[in-house]
């Protein structure tokens, strides 16, 4: 029975209150991210295993055609009310179909399907399940009364009402590996992956190098600097669709294309180049000829043009936070400007450059809009992300598109793991 004081275990009441408060503040963020990012991410994996096309998203429903068959000319004539019922979808089932219809009171019912019951004039039928494409006729045998002959009623006037549970293609247990098979078997899978990597690496490195150069320029003091800085940031700020379409018109190979006309005027080229439509150009240097991917390179240049400002901004902020003492000391020691850059600036910038490389690499890999708007994925510029769109919405095979998206996500995951393993701890 020792009453030795022990340190309190777990969280104290104050800490608990703080924790609850923190969770409460984070709850809205958590909910929206869960529902619009994390849940769709899982849903995407689910869809990638399902044979779903764009058209399947419309839920199946019951279609009915109701007619009175037979000649009713005098009281006592017999006829059939025929309900021709079918499942609108050829792929999805409908469960628990039930129908109710109000029959004209002036028709006497002689007989009806044994799944139906009649109460007064209301016919109710439990039709069970309708598998995909099923159609059947429900016949109700009637005789006409004199009242019906006097004032005929079209049986269609009272619409048959249906209750049913449509199968949701997204929720069914129908799973398949076909989508992934299709993705990996496609003849263009490897070219697409290769184009993605080329685009990502080219775009990232190019934007970083250009950003570094531009940051050096913006670090000088001269009149009009803030104007130029604003100008240099504008490719990043302007809407992607605006600048991409401006580029498309600028690079147009037909009459009216500014750049081609300019280059021809300068005598650089003889005929117009289809910058965004030409897959490869054969180039020979020193007798070695190799295929130069024209459209892909132009798309990469656009990517560099659009994202060098971001790199410039971050690198410039880093440069300006370096104290000038170091440079003064180096100056006294006789270091030349290039040596100062090489041995003082560059090492200081390596951290932010690594972070930028990581972020830009992933974002460039994710990029869809730019290529889609410039070339639509034609001429060897189809990257994985454009392929997602192509499969899901152009070929309208949602499942295959989702499968490509899963591949994108897995590659991204692999990159992230590699990056976070090798990136320096203190940055980011």
């Amino acid at each position: 029975m020792s009453t030795e004081p022990t340190p309190p275990k777990g969280l104290g009441p104050l800490a608990k209150r703080e924790m609850r408060f923190a969770y409460m503040l984070l709850l809205p963020t958590f909910l929206i991210v869960l529902s619009v990012v994390l849940f769709p991410l899982l849903a995407n994996i689910w869809i990638s295993f399902k044979p779903v096309t764009l058209g399947d998203l419309r839920a199946p429903s019951i279609l009915v055609n109701e007619r009175l068959i037979g000649n009713v000319e005098a009281s006592g004539d017999e006829a059939d009310i025929r309900y021709r019922i079918r499942n609108s979808s050829r792929k999805s089932d409908i469960a628990a179909v039930s129908m109710t219809d109000d029959l004209p009171a002036t028709l006497d019912v002689l007989g009806y399907d044994d799944r139906c019951t009649l109460e007064d004039t209301v016919l109710a039928c439990e039709l069970g399940d309708y598998e995909a494409g099923k159609r059947e006729d429900i016949i109700v045998r009637v005789t006409a009364t004199q009242a019906f002959i006097d004032s005929p009623i079209n049986v269609k006037d009272t619409k048959a009402a249906f209750n049913f549970i449509p199968e949701n293609v997204l929720l069914s247990n129908d799973l398949t590996l076909d989508n992934f098979r299709k993705v990996f078997d496609a003849s263009d899978f490897w070219p697409v992956l290769w184009a993605s990597l080329y685009y990502t690496i080219g775009g990232t490195v190019g934007a970083l190098v250009m950003g570094l150069f531009a940051a050096q320029l913006m670090n000088m003091t001269f009149r009009g600097r803030s104007f130029l800085r604003g100008l240099y940031l504008s490719p990043y700020v302007a809407p992607v669709i605006a600048v991409a379409l401006a580029w498309v018109l600028l690079l147009d190979p037909g009459p009216g294309g500014t750049l081609n006309a300019l280059l021809i005027q300068l005598g650089v080229i003889e005929g117009p180049i289809n910058f965004l439509g030409q897959r490869v150009a054969e180039i020979s240097i020193f007798g070695l000829s190799f295929d130069f991917p024209v459209a892909l390179t132009v798309v990469i240049i656009f990517e560099i043009w659009r994202y060098f400002p971001l790199a410039m901004l971050f690198i410039l902020a880093r440069i300006q936070s370096v104290s000038t003492d170091i440079y003064e000391a180096a100056e006294i020691d006789g270091a030349t400007p290039i040596q100062q850059f090489r041995f003082i600036s560059l090492p200081q910038l390596m951290g932010i450059m690594a972070v930028l490389f990581l972020l830009r690499f992933i974002w460039t890999f994710n990029k869809f809009d730019d290529i889609f708007l410039l070339t639509g994925g034609a001429a060897g510029t189809r990257t994985l992300t454009v392929n997602v769109y192509e499969q899901a919405f152009a070929v309208s095979n949602l499942g295959a598109g989702a499968a490509v998206a899963v591949v994108v996500f897995l590659i991204l995951l692999a990159f992230s793991v590699i990056f976070f393993k090798f990136s320096p701890e203190d940055d980011a």
């Binding site: 769709p40 100008l231 940031l233 504008s234 018109l249 600028l250 932010i352 994108v408």
Partner: protein, 410 residues
């Protein structure tokens, strides 16, 4: 003996290069402005640059007065005219005479000024490596500034100019960017007027503005409390959250688009602005939260503790102390989120089918067909660009500080 050294030879080289570069650029400018098919006289410009550099930099720096530079300008003009056979811009002087004179003098003045700035402070003597590098870097930086400026501005220039011309003129001479002011404002801005009267651009503009502003409000409303919790409160998972929140920003939109399209279609939320107002904040909240928590950490905790001691509740501390102090960060986050929402293309393109609901991005995508003339397309691009660019340039300082504060430390 060593009156002329390496600096002088470098200056000559830069004279040649500046002469060639600026001759090309100014001739093209003249071409754009006049629509006459001028041809850059590159070699004549290079020779003129060489001789002007020779005349200017052979003298000691303090002797290069304004008068001497004016002399060099006239020397440049003279040599350019002689070397190009009296066609300084590649066409006889009878064509567009006054303009040619102005552009030629402008060209000469720019080249001489460029050489002067490059060589400033250095005589034509032999110098050590340090100064050689200085002068080379000066040229490189000047060249970089010119190159970057042209590369960045050209697409925007073409965008604006094309929107003010008409397709026929554009097709017949794509390099003619001369504007006909005589036709009056009504005709000059015809594409813009037609976009607003016939293509519903007024409603696109309103939709874009509404979606963007609502996105900003929702984002701030969600991200501010979240960022405060991550930055200030202690709770299990805090470290994990502050590190991993940015990972959400790494998820590709294209991976989300298929499931969201499928689910929103089935829920009937696809062809609505509400759908966008749900998706956009979800993608911006993580980055907003990350930026804000970085800023909140920088606010001294003592201020808030003082508030707590004086009996304010946590909510009131946030409201009355933290938020006013974080106003610059809030502004920059708001601006950044606005920019993302305004420029967003993918979801607007996938979700919206109804013309009344189109945002600007979606509306411009609709113009991108062969039936719509180019000037309309470019006018649409200008309409989408101007508001966001103006807003951005106006608040640029805030944005730059806020964008870089979250991630760049030390």
């Amino acid at each position: 003996m060593s009156r002329f050294g390496n600096i002088f030879y470098l200056c000559l080289l830069f004279g040649v290069l500046w002469g060639a570069i600026w001759t090309t650029l100014i001739t093209l400018l003249a071409l754009f402005v006049s629509g006459e098919l001028f041809q850059p006289q590159v070699s004549a410009g290079a020779i003129a640059g060489l001789i002007s550099a020779c005349a200017l930099t052979a003298l000691a720096p303090e002797k290069r007065t304004i008068g001497l530079r004016a002399l060099c300008v006239s020397l440049f003009v003279l040599i350019l005219i002689v070397a190009s056979g009296a066609n300084p811009l590649g066409l006889p002087m009878s064509v567009y005479s006054v303009g040619q004179c102005i552009f030629t003098v402008m060209l000469a003045w720019i080249v001489v000024q460029a050489i002067h700035l490059t060589a400033m402070g250095f005589g034509p003597t032999r110098e050590r490596r340090y100064n050689v590098e200085v002068i080379c870097l000066r040229f490189l930086k000047g060249f970089g500034l010119v190159g970057f400026t042209i590369a960045v501005a050209l697409p925007f220039f073409v965008m604006v100019m094309m929107s003010l011309k008409n397709q026929q003129l554009l097709l017949s001479n794509p390099l003619d960017f001369s504007l006909n002011f005589a036709q009056g404002g009504q005709a000059l801005f015809r594409s813009y007027i037609e976009l607003f009267t016939q293509y519903h651009f007024g409603s696109y503009l309103l939709n874009s503005a509404m979606v963007s502003v609502v996105t900003v409000l929702i984002t701030l409303f969600f991200a501010v409390p979240g960022a405060y919790a991550v930055a200030r409160l202690r709770f299990p998972g805090q470290y994990f959250l502050s590190r991993s929140i940015l990972l959400i920003y790494m998820v590709p939109m294209i991976v989300l688009v298929i499931p969201l399209y499928a689910i929103f279609s089935q829920l009937g939320m696809r062809n609505t602005l509400w759908g966008l107002m749900l998706v956009y904040p979800a993608t911006t909240i993580p980055v907003a939260l990350y930026m804000l928590q970085g800023y909140f950490r920088g606010i001294p905790a003592e201020l808030e503790e003082a508030g707590l001691m004086d009996g304010l509740s946590r909510i009131n501390v946030i409201r009355k102390i933290t938020l006013p102090l974080a106003l610059p960060a809030l502004a920059s986050v708001a601006l950044y989120v606005f920019m993302i929402a305004w420029n967003e293309f993918l979801f607007a393109f996938m979700f919206l089918d109804n013309v009344d609901l189109y945002t600007l991005s979606r509306g411009i995508a609709e113009l991108n067909s062969s039936e719509v003339p180019r000037q309309h397309l470019m006018a649409g691009a200008v309409i989408a660009t101007v508001p966001v660019l103006a807003l951005f340039l106006w608040f640029e300082r805030y944005l730059v500080a806020g964008l870089t504060a979250g991630s760049v430390k030390g």
